[in-house]
């Protein structure tokens, strides 16, 4: 507590800090402490290597000058930015239109389309890339559609990344769009504004924050992703694959740390941009808000239906192709379909154990992560005063996204396995996997929560404060129920990602905590595509099952908590 006191003394002159504020700051500090241990310190123990030589002697910026003197390495910066900007541009347009169709039109099958759009999240990240090879590779069924260009290179990377990040961008956009005030639209209509004018003066400004966070999520996810460039990169080097080469190929942790720091730059920029936009954000859902209800309009609804169907079809074909290929006997020379690829003996090699370990990991990640992330986002957004502390916290929350999983995993070894670390007992256990996974996927969940919270009028808090209702009661009775859809989305997101993630945990699992996603990787490595596909299927089925449960829960809970959205 002493730390909070020291930080808060400066503010006390201006504003009286109540007991409630102390509780809020205490909880905020606890979460900040967690993030310090789970991201800041491990990262420090790895990054400090960037300033050392192999024997741990301090060398200043020597490694950096070596990096900038090596064209093979610096050229990747340009490549990374190119594919990232292309992907972000494409994804933003697609996700915006898709979300627009889902929330602002009266097209049929909305929930079906939402389900389909989120399918890529259910797949282990390698799957879309592999599918693209089956479509556009040399043996691909429609390889001629690339007009003579190869899939292996920037084109392939952008295609793979678009599929990979689309659901992430869509989730944020949907939440941003779901919260809207119909009175603004009514006013706009009453003032005689055209549809297009309303779009640019009401819809887009209201979406600003969602658009910006969707952009930064896409940007950072793509620039740090290494799965897609690994399969489809060809000769096209990007920063993320360079980290892999340094760390896994050459065991050159020092240069790996330098490249990772170069990768961190966009995250820092994202943080400041986010601050600037956030300052201008006005609450969309005021206490008097009336939810927007779309009115049927035949032409518009049909156009939206057409667009969503096309995108849905593409996503389903990607999934379908992966499944088909796993049924074919030997792609592409023997396409006899058969279940013999599926006579897998999952018992062999303890794969069932890995599967249940994965479920355990996913469950813990969802529970611990959702509570911590939502409470953290709430405190960052709604607590009063304590500016510096909150800004620091915001930064801590955004940082994990900028760290490639590979770097996070290694950093955990350096930090948690250090002989002097009192937390060393966590190494090689399930909790360390949970901590790592929660941290790895912290940012997107945090942004989802923030987007939802931002659209709630601060008057809710002011009113309850003036009625002498403690903040935790307002939190429990108003904030949480209003944000139920976002909370469920977060837990779903964490669960599914914990099931499919590989890059960080591959460095941290022990023989007692092997994971299904790692098993997929290993079996595929061994050339056993069949059991690998089967285990991949188990992951997809489980994730889909949870997704279904999520849908039912959302519907049930929404009926109870979201009735206010309807008139």
């Amino acid at each position: 507590m002493t730390g909070t006191a020291a930080l808060a003394t400066g503010l006390e002159v201006k504003e009286k800090v109540s007991r409630e504020d102390w509780i809020m700051r205490g909880v905020l500090l606890a979460i900040a402490l967690f993030l310090s241990v789970s991201i800041l310190l491990p990262l420090y123990s790895l990054m400090s290597k960037g300033f050392q030589d192999k024997d741990g002697n301090f060398t200043g910026f020597a490694n950096f000058s070596e990096f900038f003197a090596t064209p093979a390495l610096t050229y990747s910066i340009f490549n990374s930015l190119t594919i990232t900007l292309w992907t972000s541009g494409i994804v933003l347009v697609l996700a915006f239109t898709f979300a627009y169709g889902l929330t602002r039109s009266c097209m049929p099958f909305k929930s079906l389309f939402k389900g389909i759009a989120l399918v890529p999240i259910l797949m282990p990240s390698l799957l879309p890339a592999i599918s693209l090879v089956y479509f556009f590779g040399k043996q691909g069924i429609i390889s001629s559609w690339l007009f003579g260009y190869e899939i292996y290179g920037p084109i392939g990377i952008v295609m793979g990344e678009v599929i990979y990040v689309f659901p992430h961008a869509l989730t944020i956009m949907l939440i941003a769009m779901a919260m809207s005030d119909a009175r603004l639209y009514e006013a706009s209509e009453a003032l005689g504004a055209s549809k297009i004018k309303t779009f640019f003066t009401v819809t887009l400004p209201g979406m600003r924050y969602g658009l910006v966070s969707a952009f930064f999520v896409t940007f950072t996810l793509v620039i740090t992703d290494f799965g897609v460039p690994k399969v489809l990169g060809g000769k096209y080097n990007v920063l993320a694959t360079d980290v892999y080469k340094q760390v896994v190929g050459r065991q050159d942790f020092e240069m790996g740390a330098v490249v990772s720091m170069v990768l961190l730059v966009p995250a820092v920029l994202a943080f400041f941009a986010d601050r600037i936009v956030q300052r201008k954000q006005v609450a969309m859902v005021s206490t008097k808000a009336v939810p927007y209800v779309p009115q049927p309009s035949k032409g518009f609804d049909m156009a939206m239906l057409g667009f969503c169907s096309l995108l849905g079809f593409i996503i389903l074909s990607i999934l379908g192709m992966a499944f088909f290929a796993s049924f074919a006997k030997f792609w592409p020379y023997n396409l006899t379909l058969g279940l013999n690829h599926y006579q897998f003996d999952l018992m062999d090699g303890g794969s069932w154990a890995s599967y249940f370990n994965s479920i355990e990991l996913a469950t813990w990640t969802a529970i611990v992560g959702t509570v911590m992330i939502f409470v953290g986002a709430y405190l960052v957004e709604k607590s009063k005063g304590f500016r510096t502390g909150r800004a620091a916290m915001q930064f801590l929350c955004i940082m994990p996204m900028a760290v490639p999983g590979l770097v996070l995993g290694l950093a955990y070894i350096f930090f948690f396995n250090h002989p002097d670390n009192p937390l060393g007992f966590l190494y090689h256990t399930m909790p360390i996997l949970v901590i790592c996974t929660v941290t790895h996927f912290y940012t997107v969940s945090h942004l989802t929560a923030v987007t939802a919270l931002k659209q709630m009028d601060p008057e809710f808090e002011s009113v309850s404060a003036s009625l002498k209702v403690p903040f935790y009661k307002t939190f429990r009775r108003v904030t949480v129920p209003v944000c139920v859809p976002a909370i469920l989305d977060i837990s779903m997101y964490l669960f599914v990602n914990a099931m499919t993630t590989v890059s960080a945990v591959v460095f941290l699992y022990s023989p007692d905590t092997t994971l299904a996603s790692v098993a997929v990787l290993n079996m595929d490595d061994a050339g056993d595509t069949a059991p690998a596909a089967a285990m991949g299927m188990m992951i997809v089925f489980t994730a889909a099952g949870v997704r279904l449960l999520h849908a039912i829960l959302t519907r049930g809970l929404a009926r109870r908590t979201q009735a206010w959205r309807k008139r």
Binding site: A72, E150, F253, Y333, P422
Partner: protein, 348 residues
């Protein structure tokens, strides 16, 4: 201060657990042996079963990953090693870790029966002992070859011919041990100058470099590329699965590395680790190694393995591991500066 209290509390807690654990299980408890390995996942169960039937008091616990990931993991754990023994990892990786003082020497019972090439000759007792050789090979897809009218290559030199332009894939030595094995063998075969000239010529024919060593052959098997430079085990495995492959061991000579083991310096389970070491050089183990690899460390054991290129033993170069380990970073940097820089998307 706080850390100290925390630390002693943890120690107390852990020791209490250990006392309890030992109290319950008594002396008959099995020793858990933490083994870090890069051997293919599908072989692990067989090795574990065979070893534990001979030594029922030891329970192997695998941590299995690709060569690069295991080596990085070990290197990162350097200050506080977790593994008891590293088993089935490339000798070059073990030598690199050995230079950091990672291992302790031990001469397993019966090591004299192994070929001298196949275990550590610089330290006595040896720090690493080889199990079986992992050999470079070229995979040639006959169906795709016919499509493009490509003759079957038989030498490394053949691969630089103009007909093969854009039809060859090899692993990037900066991310794959197999890639480095190729480059290092070319330099040892041809000498530095000629080898780099050879690679310049080869580079113009290469469609792209992959991150993993098994990938080129997997790609050739799927017809994504006619020719993949990879290793024999993967090649044979793909061919057995039904891929239309011709497996070639180029006549100039081929690079190789050894799957080897080494005992970690401060292991708490030294007795059990030595049991595994002893077992690993036994004839029984060699016969199991031979199931999927054609060259094993004990001479006179190996029988030909289905679909391995014939005469592979004679084509293996005299591999100087110490030289390769010493020059590795220099070669990798030069390779990177020459071939890994700026590249544009290519028209097919």
């Amino acid at each position: 201060m706080f850390t100290k209290i925390f630390k002693s509390l943890t120690v107390a807690f852990v020791s209490a657990l250990m006392v309890l654990g030992f109290g319950v299980n008594g002396a008959a408890a099995k020793t858990d042996l933490l083994v870090y390995t890069a051997i293919e996942a599908d072989e692990l169960a067989g090795f574990k079963k065979a070893f534990e039937s001979d030594y029922p008091d030891v329970n192997i616990k695998w941590v299995r990953d690709s060569t690069g990931v295991v080596t990085s993991k070990l290197m990162a754990e350097k200050n506080n090693p977790k593994a008891d023994i590293v088993w089935g990892l490339a000798a070059t990786s073990l030598m690199m870790l050995g230079n950091e003082g990672y291992f302790q020497g031990y001469a397993p019972k019966g090591i004299k029966k192994l070929g001298k090439l196949y275990y550590d000759q610089t330290n006595n007792p040896p720090q690493w002992v080889g199990q079986r050789a992992w050999i470079a090979s070229v995979c040639f897809n006959t169906v795709e070859g016919k499509k493009y009218n490509l003759p079957i290559p038989s030498t490394w030199a053949d691969l630089t011919k103009a007909v093969y332009k854009g039809h060859v894939i090899m692993p990037n030595p900066n991310s794959s041990g197999t890639g480095f094995l190729d480059v290092s063998s070319w330099i040892q075969l041809m000498g530095e100058d000629k080898a780099w000239k050879y690679m310049d010529a080869l580079h113009t024919n290469i469609a792209r470099y992959t991150h993993s060593g098994s990938k080129p052959c997997k790609l050739a098997a799927k017809g994504e590329i006619p020719i993949g430079i990879s290793f024999a085990y993967r090649a044979a495995k793909s061919k057995n699965a039904g891929a239309p492959l011709e497996i070639i061991a180029p006549s100039e000579g081929i690079g190789w590395d050894l799957e080897s083991f080494a005992i970690v310096k401060n292991t708490k389970n030294l007795a059990a680790a030595r049991k595994l070491a002893d077992w690993s050089v036994s004839k029984k183990a060699m016969v199991i190694y031979n199931k999927s690899y054609a060259v094993v460390a004990m001479p006179g054991i190996a029988k030909p393995v289905k679909n391995f290129p014939p005469g592979i033993l004679k084509k293996m170069i005299k591999n100087d591991f110490a030289w390769a380990a010493k020059n590795r970073i220099r070669i990798l940097n030069k390779w990177r500066d020459k071939y890994d820089a700026k590249s544009e998307p290519k028209k097919k």
